[in-house]
């Protein structure tokens, strides 16, 4: 484990939507450390989307404050935050517009007013990292949905944010690309990034994520390792998420250890 350096600090944040006077977040506090991969789950309307939108300044807290790398987001615009917190939308079609993948990758750095050499370096790094070599000159909309989603991620990668917020990175993906996304998320961490996955994909949450945050009705109701959270019956039921099948099996068989993957189960059965 690397030394715990906080990158995201949420301090007593309450958010009330002016329309309808809805309390979307109610006194939420949490800290995310540099290099963590965090999963954020909860039903629609639990406040998870509201929470992450605070992290890149799309929303400002009604009460409390958010610090990113020690800086208060209050005075920051979304544009200024974009270099620190990258938000990858669930639907890549909401972000992609350029004629070629290359243009798409350069869009963010250009908005940051970087010089040409730097833009080129970042673009090439992204192409290598995401394996987009063959589609450089393709129109993003001509690329099949699974890989288009990777282009969406890569277009945020070129902004080199400290924190990646990935909204359902594997939804609508086939298994091959899903496996690729898992690897990419782990590699992002190796490169020193922090990753927050808002996701329902249980295998992602079990096998990739270090820590699970569970939200309900604007409150953070659990914050622990997936292994521990999956064993909390009440919490899991309130999210309508079932743990991965293999985890359910281990719970049913009352294994000493809650397993998170098929390989773990194999080891467990041997002993």
């Amino acid at each position: 484990m690397m030394s715990a350096k906080p990158i995201v600090q949420v301090e007593n944040v309450t958010h009330i939507y002016s329309r309808g006077n809805v309390v979307a977040l109610d006194d939420v506090s949490l800290t995310i450390n540099r290099g963590e991969i965090v999963g954020l789950i909860g039903q629609n309307g639990s406040g998870k989307t509201t929470l992450v939108k605070h992290m890149n300044s799309l929303l400002k807290p009604t009460k409390g404050r958010i610090l990113i790398d020690g800086e208060d987001t209050e005075k920051q615009s979304v544009q200024a935050m974009s270099a620190k917190v990258g938000y990858v939308y669930q639907n890549p079609n909401h972000q992609l517009f350029a004629r070629t993948v290359v243009d798409e990758l350069e869009f963010g750095p250009r908005n940051l007013k970087l010089d040409e050499a730097e833009i080129e370096a970042r673009r090439e790094e992204a192409i290598e990292f995401f394996g987009l070599e063959e589609m450089r000159e393709l129109h993003p909309y001509r690329i099949g949905f699974p890989l288009r989603k990777l282009v969406g991620m890569a277009s945020i990668f070129t902004m080199r944010p400290d924190v990646f917020i990935l909204d359902e990175p594997t939804t609508g993906q086939d298994n091959i690309t899903t496996q690729r996304v898992y690897k990419l998320i782990r590699r992002l961490r190796e490169n020193g990034h922090t990753v927050i996955c808002v996701a329902h994909d249980m295998i992602l949450l079990a096998e990739v994520v270090d820590r699970l945050l569970v939200m309900r009705d604007g409150h953070l109701i659990a914050d622990d390792t997936p292994r521990k959270v999956f064993a909390m019956n009440e919490i899991m039921e309130s999210t309508h998420l079932a743990p991965p099948q293999i985890t359910q099996l281990s719970l049913q068989l009352n294994k000493r250890k809650v397993v998170l993957s098929v390989d773990e189960m194999l080891k467990e059965l041997k002993s």
Partner: protein, 296 residues
């Protein structure tokens, strides 16, 4: 969730006007349209306008009505400004007073006032119709008098698409801001419009396949789920509307004494107040609108 709010749409209620079939209300709307084009007489137009406001009161739609007027009124003020110095009226014109290089004309003030009142008359009656009738009822009753089913569908769908595309646009703009895009100016147009358009095309493609599986392309007889009643009361209201329009138009067209364009004279004080009032009102509106756009 996305805010599904068409700016001009039905205001739920149960007033006597809400309970009338959309067709008679349309008859009134068209009737007033005809009257407004038949005359320029400000007093007559003012009277029709007041009648419209009475309907607004009965229908209890003041807040929504005012919201529309707030947008429309300042724009209409430009009419007064332009008309008073360059009347859309046959020569000769008689001057009232000079303002710098411009001359304010008698006919200009007359023409500006009557144009403004025309617009207000038509808007008011149109709003009473639209804000007291469910769009589906409007389309269903139009279908009854011969609007094709497909046309009906297109109208419904268009009305639905406006708020959907609006909310799509907001999502995309936020997504692009998260990539460091400055939210305003020409540079923002392409990155925020392309995804919205592509999404709309995809939506229409999928919808057309979905509709086909619901027999949309079938040839035989089609029915309508929305049932609109047309009772005696509706017939009376409709007849009243048509009669009102016909009698007024006949009177206005045949009685030459109702043309006050050369007889009604405005004092220089009145003309100047109106001119500058309109000018200031319009400028205020422009400044407010610009601030709204720039801060969005």
């Amino acid at each position: 969730m996305q805010g599904i709010a068409v700016p001009i749409s039905v205001v739920p209620g149960n007033s006597p006007i809400h309970r009338i079939n959309p067709l008679p209300k349309m008859a009134w709307m068209v009737g007033v349209l005809v009257i407004s084009f038949v005359t320029r007489n400000p007093v007559i137009l003012g009277g029709v306008f007041l009648l419209g406001l009475l309907f607004v009161t009965i229908a209890q739609i003041w807040p929504s009505y005012l919201r529309v007027v707030m947008i429309l009124f300042p724009i209409s003020l430009t009419l007064i400004l332009l008309q008073s110095i360059a009347p859309a009226f046959p020569q000769p014109w008689s001057p009232i007073v000079d303002v710098g290089p411009f001359t304010i004309w008698q006919e200009g003030i007359y023409s500006g006032l009557s144009l403004l009142l025309r617009i207000m008359c038509m808007t008011t009656f149109a709003m009473v119709m639209i804000m007291t009738s469910h769009p589906s009822d409007i389309f269903a009753s139009m279908q009854k008098i011969g609007l094709p089913y497909t046309m009906n569908f297109i109208l419904t769908m268009t009305l639905q698409l406006i708020p959907i595309l609006q909310s799509e646009f907001n999502t995309v703009l936020k997504a692009q801001k998260s990539r460091g895009l400055k939210g305003t100016g020409f540079a923002a147009i392409l990155p925020s419009m392309v995804p919205v358009f592509v999404g709309a095309i995809e939506r229409v493609q999928q919808l057309s396949i979905s509709l086909e599986s619901r027999a949309f392309g079938s040839t035989g007889k089609k029915t309508s789920y929305r049932q609109v009643q047309f009772g005696l009361k509706d017939a009376l209201v409709m007849a009243a509307g048509m009669a009102f329009s016909c009698i007024m138009s006949y009177w206005l067209l045949t009685d030459p004494t109702l043309d006050w364009s050369r007889t009604l004279t405005f004092s220089p004080a009145f003309a100047l107040t109106l001119f500058f009032g309109a000018g200031i009102g319009f400028l205020l509106f422009v400044v407010l609108a610009l601030r709204l756009v720039l801060t969005a």
